[in-house]
């Protein structure tokens, strides 16, 4: 819409309407030029205005068309039950059929979705006011009972919900008015709206146990679903976001082999494919008519040095290893520039609580040598890595080279991806792990850095950190929260046994006809919410 206003200002709304009407009927630049000059405008000005009109038209969402999308996974365990979603295909599919109370935008800030507003005084008791006039695909209106059912079912062990751990902090959900729901938590958590914007907390009809019909309030209705093969959805004409969705139909399949995915895109078989390897980037951008969509996110592969055993028990060793990361070179050669430099703390720049003021740790072999000597490490240090943790093998090999130059002998132990998480990840004294993007800083820090967390990879324990974490979770004042998270990031940067050289961006490929993609750091394909937002240009 950004080009429309100057156009309207120059020729007036009536003329502007006439021009856009002509464009919708298929006028070309020449036709517009003809129209303007015919109305008496000078040729040069008419030329510029014709260009502006066309750009504005191209940016205007166009209704209609069928989109063919290929995700990276196709599993027979594909599901339509929001509680059981476990992979990208599930997230994409359920985002087409359902909505949540809130939705997360490009900075992972919760925006009103099915809930028009959400208020709290103490971050423990929340009042959500539901949007009026929302209906499910079968016509039934959205009521507080649906919200109560959808949220409380995660707590029931029989549901086997993947979000049970997060849902356990919800003590009760009650309907407190014809359009109002009150949620009481077990402890204050200012990030409840963020949590309710994640995939698992989609709202379903009260009492649903069989999800095969996919009845939700979402932008598309289910037409066909074959688990492990494909899903087809058609536009929900009565969607509560007027004007959306733009597409008539979306077909979603899974192609597990990355090469096959890229070939499908470049041969015209698909319009949008997810999870492209950076090595395929040149192929896609080199072919006319195709482009890459990049989403910087909080995904990282980290070097874990356990603080309770092995060489990591010595803080000088930990510091030395962090200083041996040649981050610029890793970004260039391993991630092919599709990454953001990390600073040994897990909150990435797309997160609203990222502390930009933390001085970036530099590649410093001299200092590393000094610290290694101080630590008195002798002999070989085994470092465990695996293709299961993205780029960890390449990072380990690069580390081995750099370490050799300062006199440290690293033995890279490459483990197969099969069973890596169960057998090696948390057990190795020095090894690599991988963390997928989390919707909030609180979730990530609680799951991976709290002293008693199951996934506290480096076993770093700090009472001060735990206290800060708890305080920040329940703090309603944004500025105070920001300061607390900044302190926590500094603590991790200095003391924890975690080295994070890069934050990895995810890449998707698409035909240039697909428009409207903007990154949401939850994951690729616009945080898997592309279906609602994209349109196909003519």
């Amino acid at each position: 819409m950004s080009h429309r206003d100057p156009l309207e200002a120059l020729v007036g709304p009536q003329e502007s309407q006439r021009l856009f009407g002509a464009l919708q009927r298929g006028a070309s630049r020449r036709d517009i030029l003809g129209m303007l000059v015919g109305a008496g405008m000078q040729a040069g000005l008419a030329g510029t205005l014709a260009g502006t009109a066309l750009t504005a038209h191209a940016e205007t969402p166009r209704r209609g068309g069928k989109l063919r999308v290929a995700g990276a996974t196709a599993s027979a365990s594909d599901t339509l039950d929001p509680a059981k979603q476990s992979n990208q295909a599930d997230y994409s599919r359920c985002n087409m059929l359902y909505n949540g109370l809130t939705s997360l935008d490009g900075s992972l800030t919760p925006q009103p979705a099915l809930a028009e507003r959400f208020d709290t005084k103490d971050a423990k008791t929340w009042v959500f006011t539901l949007r009026k006039g929302v209906a499910f695909h079968d016509g039934k209106a959205l009521t507080p009972a649906d919200v109560v059912y959808s949220l409380m079912r995660h707590k029931d062990p029989a549901t086997a919900s993947k979000a049970k751990v997060q849902a356990d902090q919800i003590e009760s959900v009650k309907a407190t008015g014809p359009n109002e729901v009150t949620i009481v938590l077990t402890a204050p958590n200012a990030d409840l709206p963020v949590l309710l914007g994640t995939f698992h907390f989609h709202i379903v009809k009260d009492g649903t146990t069989d999800f095969n019909a996919g009845i939700g309030t979402g932008p598309y209705k289910l037409k066909e679903f074959k688990p492990g093969v494909r899903s087809v959805v058609v536009r929900n004409e009565a969607y509560w976001k007027s004007g959306k969705p733009y597409l008539d139909e979306v077909e979603f399949v899974g192609i597990a082999d990355e090469n096959a995915r890229v070939n499908a895109l470049l041969s015209g078989g698909m319009d949008l494919v997810g999870v492209i390897n950076p090595r395929s980037l040149a192929r896609v951008t080199g072919t006319p008519g195709f482009a890459i969509f990049k989403t910087p996110s909080g995904q990282y592969s980290d070097l874990v040095m356990r603080r309770d055993t092995g060489p990591g028990a010595n803080p000088d060793f930990v510091l030395a290893m962090k200083q041996l990361f040649n981050r610029e070179q890793m970004k260039k050669t391993i991630a092919l520039d599709q990454a953001v430099i990390g600073n040994d703390q897990p909150i990435d720049p797309t997160n609203r609580f990222h502390f930009a003021g933390l001085p970036q740790r530099a590649f410093d072999p001299e200092k590393a040598k000094f610290h290694l000597k101080k630590a008195g490490i002798s002999g070989t240090v085994p470092v465990v890595c695996s293709p299961a943790a993205l780029y960890s093998v390449e990072m380990a090999l690069m580390l081995q080279q750099t370490a050799k130059e300062v006199g440290l002998d690293i033995d890279v132990k490459r483990m197969p991806a099969d069973g890596y998480w169960s057998n090696h990840w948390l057990n190795s004294a020095v090894g690599f792990g991988n963390v997928n993007p989390r919707p909030s800083a609180d979730m990530l820090l609680t799951q991976f850095f709290k002293s008693d967390a199951q996934w506290n990879e480096s076993r770093w324990k700090s009472d001060k950190f735990d206290q800060l974490l708890l305080a920040a979770r329940g703090e309603p004042d944004l500025a105070k929260r920001r300061q607390m998270y900044a302190d926590m990031q500094t603590m991790i940067h200095q003391e924890a046994g975690i080295g994070i050289p890069l934050f990895l961006s995810s890449l998707d490929g698409h035909s240039t006809k697909v428009k409207g993609l903007s990154p949401i750091p939850l994951g690729g394909l616009m945080g898997y919410n592309f279906a609602e937002n994209v349109w196909l240009a003519a």
């Binding site: 196709a74 599993s75 027979a76 365990s77 599901t79 476990s86 062990p157 086997a160 993947k162 074959k226 688990p227 492990g228 093969v229 494909r230 399949v253 192609i255 597990a256 082999d257 090469n259 096959a260 070939n263 499908a264 470049l266 041969s267 015209g268 078989g269 099969d418 069973g419 998480w421 169960s422 057998n423 990840w425 991988n434 199951q454 996934w455």
Partner: protein, 318 residues
Amino acid sequence: MNGIILKLLAQRVALALLSLLAVSVIVFAVTAVLPGDAAQEQLGQDATPEALAALRAQMGLDVPAPERYLRWLGGLLRGDFGKSATAYQPVAELIGSRLPNSLLLAAITALFAVPIALAAGIASAVWRGSWFDRVASTASVGIVSVPEFLIATLAVLVFAVQLRWLPALSYVNDIESLGQLLKAFAMPVLTLTCVIVAQMMRMTRAAVIDQLEAPYVEMVRLKGASALRLVICHALPNAVGPIANAVALSLSYLLGGVIIVETIFNYPGVAKLMVDGVAQRDTPLVQACAMLFCSGYLILVTTADICGIVANPRLRHR
């Protein structure tokens, strides 16, 4: 003749059942020995001890391995293939939805590959030593030496991405006309044909040459039969035994060995299902697929033997 065939069939069926039982034990044992189990694979990084225990109880994995095997065997005898540990579906349904696809691909490939191989083999045998024979032999060995993923990937790059003549994926869903079917299956069939044609052709050639050196063939030639009649009506029926066996071996590969083609062309077949099942440690699925491929192989080999006997009057009337 019927008596002999029936006796043979009965013997073969009994042996086949024994083989199936042995295979099921071996496959189960090997899958059980692999590190990790279905619960661990499904939870992946989320595998906390409580979650693992809960999921294992739900999946029935907390019982010792021999007991699980006997339970599965019991279910099988009742006709129940069990429930997949990862998909929330009965195994029979899962396989049933993919088996027709695999059979279709195998059938179309066989339709193209077998006549080509037989014709080339017979022609090479008849014109043995000529340039045709030498070119055909070298070409077939050359083609079978190229890895199939290379052939498939090159074919996709050339025909789908560059020339846009054929689709890069082989969907089974939207096929309305014969032309569409041919287009969708062209590259997978081409790739698979390249793999299996060599063995069939060379075996055919060897068997027919062997027959052509026999004295009765010389007699037929002296009687004045045309070359075509000589080969088709006299030499070939005696060579059916080894040829049928070679064809059966190649076709059994088509049922279970086409994982690479299924991956590259995203074809929803049974081979990929089994490989995914192994990766997920989905034991009921893996067992069922193993039984399926084993039965397919045994049926094909038995059919080949019967063909050999039926074609040979001496064996028929022993």
